[in-house]
Symmetry: none
Subunit: 200 residues, 4 copies
DNA sequence: TATGAATGAGGGTTCATTCAT
DNA sequence: GATGAATGAACCCTCATTCAT
């Protein structure tokens, strides 16, 4: 005889043997991070988000800190590939600028990456393990950019993008794409003087 | 017979009638924010840091959210003046660059501002009130910069600084001041091509 | 409008301002210790036993270990006075033996002291703070006995009593009072050879 | 792709077909009992101590209570033989006293027995099954002693030893062997009046 | 005005036990 | 036979907030 369903409408969860449950928990943790930030990372929130019993989270992760660390690691891995893929078809400086402008004035899907990135950066301020992770991520991002701009300009460009993305996340009256384009274009190629689309 | 002490470490303190206690509490809250981030903002932590009884915090602030908001407001106000003052003696582009390089490769006192700034930015992502505060801060910062660079370049410079400060906070092997100087110099004056100290 | 009573029949507890609640919690903890042993010392058990909300226990005691330590300290203090009082009217060796036999073949009220004493001894094995407490208790007990027997015999007598009390607690077929009396009498006065009531 | 490890430290161990694993688990449980007391008896602790997978403990024992009971039973059996063997070469009262003094002022190996004995006694207070076990142990111990002292004195001697061992376990400034010897000698032979080594 | 006692929700974590493999 | 994934209860403790004094 099966146990009765609880009264509160939540269906019984008979799910035993669920492979890659661990990965699903990590994805749920990233969802929570986007919506609530690091304060939202609790066993109970993550479990509810992953539609998994509480004990399942504590079973797979020895501590919340470890869960958070692995979630961030998963993000960096996934986002690293995505980021590199953005530049796959880029041949000219103009195309590079196009991609970067899209990066800043991003779609909702970019919003997620941006928020997670900043959460990681802030968490890394006080966690050496996360600091190493963030450093690796920054390095690989700059390597991607450096293929187009050279090493030094890549660092500069990366910092500019970081700041612009943060501002874009926060601003209520979004700066026009044109202003963003100009700023990026000048950084990608300092000889650019005009604010409009580079024609040469 | 003396009344029993509570179990936590809060000792008995006979300080009655303490003007500007409210301000001291806010400063303590900022200290906590620097050291532990927004998760550390609890009545007990702040009270202990301010060396003030627990009830004093709840008495002066209707809720924790309000305490945090006022603490951030105090920070923006203080930091705004400080920031403007940094540029008081600046006359040439070279001097501007000097000040900005110092801003990025900051002393420990700058560390505090940088951390609080990022804490504010991240908290503002999910709190409309803080978002307005952060927006005002960004605007006034850019106005200061714009006195030297014009409006558009100020926004670009501000974003660059933001990104470089974050990277400087996180990196383990700090990038040389020279690289920072070059990046800033090129942004301040796009005609700069060399990486070394600008001579005029 | 008062909040409604909970559905499970437990009456609402409007009790604010309850002085010597801390002492009541400690007494409840001792009750729990008697009934369930150290494993039963949980915030919830003690709170329920003291008819006090859970938060009240955590408020008054910084940790469970501290609660347990203070409870044992309270027991030692109370029991110390009781123990000394047992010998107030003792004038002769025979009266001393009478009191000690009663101590071993104790009433239910003695059961409590015996169990708490052994719980303390065992807990003290692994807790230096409790070890000091237990040592002090043993010392003061032996001082009381020494007033009748001298220092060395007091130690011997104390050990014998300890062992007999433990056996009395455990045995299913209780040894007769006569056997206990004989054993004690021989220890109190080694010249005693017979097993029956000392007449001299 | 390897299956994920659980979050706790239990590593993968390829030991299949391990006879007398059950006995090894019981010995591990006794080790845990000595070090942490009955609260430490958990499936995980015992499994880790025995270097055995978690499931192995639940497989061999229907419940934790049963595991504990069997561990105590194993202790009583082993310790019973050991205890009897202590008296194998005893011929005179003086030799008997020597053995008993060693029993109280024991080496580390005796420490283990003493702690386990008291753990058993206290656990038996609240568990009828263990009470029977403890009663049997006490009986057989007294039978060994009775071969030298007679039935009544054996019970008295056993109680004295029990108390002295407990005191010896707890005391920080260990009572001298001489005092212990005197106490035992007087109990073994009430005609003994002097405190020093009995010469006949 | 100012304080600290009081409360209950919710936090991280450990655990005995069940069960599919 | 043997194992480890899975589950939910219960653990200790921290906390925001309320309120009597």
């Amino acid at each position: 005889m099966a146990p009765p369903d609880p009264a509160d409408g939540t269906a019984r969860r008979p799910r035993r043997h669920d492979p890659d449950r661990k990965a699903r928990i990590l994805d749920a943790a990233l969802d929570v991070l986007v919506e609530q930030g690091t304060v939202g990372i609790t066993h109970r929130h993550v479990a509810a988000r992953a539609d998994v019993p509480l004990g399942s989270v504590t079973y797979h992760f020895a501590s919340l800190a470890e869960l958070q660390a692995q979630a961030f690691a998963r993000f960096v891995e996934q986002r690293g590939s995505e980021f590199a893929a953005l530049f796959d078809g880029v041949r000219t400086r103009a195309e590079l600028v196009d991609v970067l402008v899209d990066l800043v004035h991003g779609s909702p899907s970019r919003h997620r990456s941006a928020v997670l990135g900043f959460e990681l950066h802030l968490a890394a301020l006080r966690d050496p393990g996360l600091r190493a992770l963030a450093a690796g991520w920054t390095r690989s991002s700059q390597e991607v950019l450096a293929r187009f701009t050279g090493q030094d300009d890549a660092a500069r460009l990366d910092a500019l993008l970081e700041g612009m993305i943060m501002h874009a996340l926060l601003t209520t009256e979004p700066r026009s794409r044109e202003a963003t384009r100009t700023a990026i274009a000048r950084t990608v190629d300092p000889r650019e003087q005009g604010g409009s689309r580079a024609t040469r």
